[in-house]
């Protein structure tokens, strides 16, 4: 993947906030999306009941997942769809490459699929000399710029319209300095229509896969998944195995929640139900594990697999809004990414569960009731126990544990600390104290709570 995996979240975030007006804009824009979500959610009196149903349907599905996957596979095969299984990202990429190579395909369009981002499909195909055209507008913009998406629903949310205008001027020869979103979108429409019409193979993601019918649903607002899939002679749909739901009737619950949680829309413009290839078309489904079965075995973390990728937890997160998606250096950023990615690679993603204030807002907006902030806290414990946190954090935590286990020493340290802050404030108010960075130290209290309590309890 083209992510800069050497930079940890805190360092990348520090770079992001160097541009203060842009940081504020990013923060406010995502908060605006969160407010639209609230308005949509409050419009339905049964919202909490819907979340509960969705959560229970997903819990049930995870508890019977092997049977549902077999049922899905067999129904899909009856429908004339070719089903593949991939244990990891490498196998997923190879399966797709083999289909491309077998048919000698040159022209490929792809609609948004976070799974293919997770697997690094574009980069893999590039090494084989095959170029894929991303067709979601936001994804096309970041693809031109050779950047990964910064948000799973709004891939180019880190960019301003001037940035898009410059990018399109360079790649699509649009008028320099014309920043009108209408004009820029029209240019992309014309450019991508050509790509759709000439494409031979379309890759899409999957939002929901239905065990009962062997079908799958893809949701977009732009219509790019459909333009690709219905024009090309081969359609490959890629899905993590957790996309499964038992029956078509359960789609009602999830389609009511998904767009309202994501953007505040009552539903996406297109909720497309694919069951059989059209006459003369070849349709493939690739079912991917890539660490998911391991996550299923972690009782504390398995319900992260209920996620429907709405990104409500991104939009509400005070850390995401002020650090940007790229600082998470993974395909899925934000709070949900921070509990999914340590499972994929604990060492590389050990910083992510710490990129949170544990305020719990993510869990409150989650449409399938994943206890995201609890899991962030639990991952921290796992990562420390496994030795994946850096030395300063480890030494700090060890020192704190030593101190807290010795009440006499704790009381002495408190007294000494208060005296130091009162008499020699420069000892703590300097750059060597990381806590002082972007914060004022609090005014030292005259006495500790314990002293105050001992003094006052008799009254």
């Amino acid at each position: 993947m083209s992510h800069n995996s050497t930079l940890k979240h805190a360092e990348a975030a520090a770079q992001f906030i160097n541009d203060e007006p842009r940081t504020n804009w990013h923060d406010e824009t995502l908060w605006f999306v969160r407010q639209k979500r609230d308005k949509a959610a409050h419009g339905l009196p049964e919202w909490e009941q819907l979340r509960e149903w969705a959560s229970q349907v997903k819990n049930h599905t995870l508890s019977n997942l092997d049977n549902y996957l077999k049922e899905f596979e067999s129904k899909a095969q009856d429908n004339g769809v070719i089903v593949h299984w991939a244990a990891d990202a490498e196998e997923h990429n190879r399966i797709i490459y083999d289909i491309i190579a077998h048919h000698k395909i040159k022209k490929i369009v792809k609609s948004k699929s976070m799974l293919t981002e997770e697997c690094g499909l574009n980069e893999f195909l590039h090494t084989k000399g095959i170029e894929t055209v991303d067709t979601d507008l936001g994804e096309r913009i970041v693809q031109f710029r050779n950047e990964p998406p910064s948000h799973i629903v709004l891939p180019a949310i880190h960019l301003k319209k001037q940035d898009v205008s410059d990018t399109f001027h360079e790649h699509l020869n649009t008028e320099k300095g014309n920043n009108d979103p209408q004009y820029l979108t029209e240019a992309a429409r014309q450019h991508l229509r050509e790509k759709f019409i000439e494409s031979e193979l379309a890759i899409t993601g999957v939002n929901f896969a239905i065990a009962e019918t062997g079908g799958f649903v893809v949701c977009t607002n732009e219509g790019n998944a459909d333009m690709g899939a219905h024009a090309a002679k081969i359609h490959i749909a890629c899905m993590g195995f957790e996309k499964m739901i038992p029956r078509a009737e359960h789609l009602s619950v999830f389609l009511r929640l998904l767009a309202r949680s994501a953007t505040g829309q009552p539903i996406t413009t297109y909720s497309s139900h694919f069951h059989k290839p059209r006459q003369g078309q070849e349709m493939h489904i690739v079912i991917v594990d890539n660490g998911r079965s391991r996550q299923l075995g972690r009782a504390d973390f398995r319900n992260s697999l209920k996620c429907i990728r709405c990104a409500a937890c991104f939009n509400t997160c005070p850390v995401y809004r002020r650090s940007g998606g790229h600082s998470y250096h993974t395909a899925v950023a934000g709070p949900i990414g921070s509990i999914l990615n340590p499972n994929i690679d604990m060492r590389a993603n050990a910083d992510l569960p710490f990129a949170s204030t544990l305020c719990g807002s993510c869990s409150n907006v989650c449409p399938v009731k994943i206890d995201i902030h609890d899991q962030l806290w639990k991952w921290r414990q796992v990562l420390v126990a496994e030795g994946y946190v850096d030395t300063t954090k480890k030494v700090g935590l060890k020192g704190m544990a030593f101190l807290l286990a010795r009440p006499g020493l704790y009381r002495f340290a408190g007294k000494a600390g208060r005296a130091v802050m009162r008499l020699f404030p420069w000892i703590v108010n300097n750059k060597l104290n990381p806590w002082y960075k972007q914060r004022e130290m609090p005014a030292p209290p005259k006495q500790s709570f314990r002293d105050w309590y001992l003094q006052n309890k008799k009254q």
């Binding site: 607002n221 009737e249 789609l251 009602s252 009552p266 539903i267 075995g297 009782a299």
Partner: protein
């Protein structure tokens, strides 16, 4: 062991104890006093237009005059006149020139403005997406309150493809500015008949 066997074996070993499915109680979901009004309000809020008609006469006239003018329109509704049957063989390149497609919708959903279209109502899967403008006709009696009701009324797996379509194609990927007409239809007018 194949990937399939390994994955299924790991899932069987790691899955939690069986949890029951919830039952969806339709009495718990929102009710609308006026389904048509609710439908119209929501569709307008997502960029679509609505027209209420007693019957198809005026729409038929409009279609005839557009055909006479030489506009590339595709009609899939028998009650409006001759139906374009040979769509399945048209290429994407040919369909891209379609100005307006006239389609019959099966069910419309008051809570979100969506309309269910079966593949047989499209004639070609690509048509509702690639045409520049879209006209959909629905029967007043086929407007249902919510998605729960809609899934009871349709058979989503009956044909090879089907879609819930809500409004014209749109995007807000450039600085969250809403633009109508991303890749799919630039406009949608829904005629409510009866």
């Amino acid at each position: 062991m194949s990937a399939r066997e390994t994955i299924l074996k790991n899932i069987t070993a790691n899955k939690p104890e069986l949890v029951e499915l919830p039952s969806i109680d339709l009495n718990a979901v929102i009710q609308y006093s006026d389904l048509v009004q609710q439908y119209k309000t929501v569709l307008q809020s997502i960029g679509g237009g609505t027209v209420e008609l007693q019957n198809l006469a005026s729409l038929k006239q409009e279609l005839e005059s557009r055909v006479a003018k030489g506009d590339f329109v595709v009609n899939r509704i028998a009650a409006l006149g001759e139906v374009s049957d040979s769509l399945a063989s048209l290429t994407a390149d040919e369909l891209a020139a379609v100005d307006t497609a006239y389609l019959q919708g099966a069910v419309a959903v008051a809570e979100n403005g969506a309309i269910w279209l079966y593949e047989s109502q499209m004639g070609n899967r690509l048509l509702p997406f690639i045409c520049q403008h879209l006209v959909i006709v629905i029967e007043r009696k086929n407007i249902v309150p919510t998605m729960h009701h809609a899934y009871k009324q349709i058979e989503s797996a009956k044909e090879g493809f089907g879609v819930f379509l809500a409004g014209p194609s749109k995007t807000a990927d450039i600085e969250q500015s809403l633009v109508i007409g991303a890749h799919g239809a630039r406009s949608l007018i829904v005629y409510i008949i009866g």
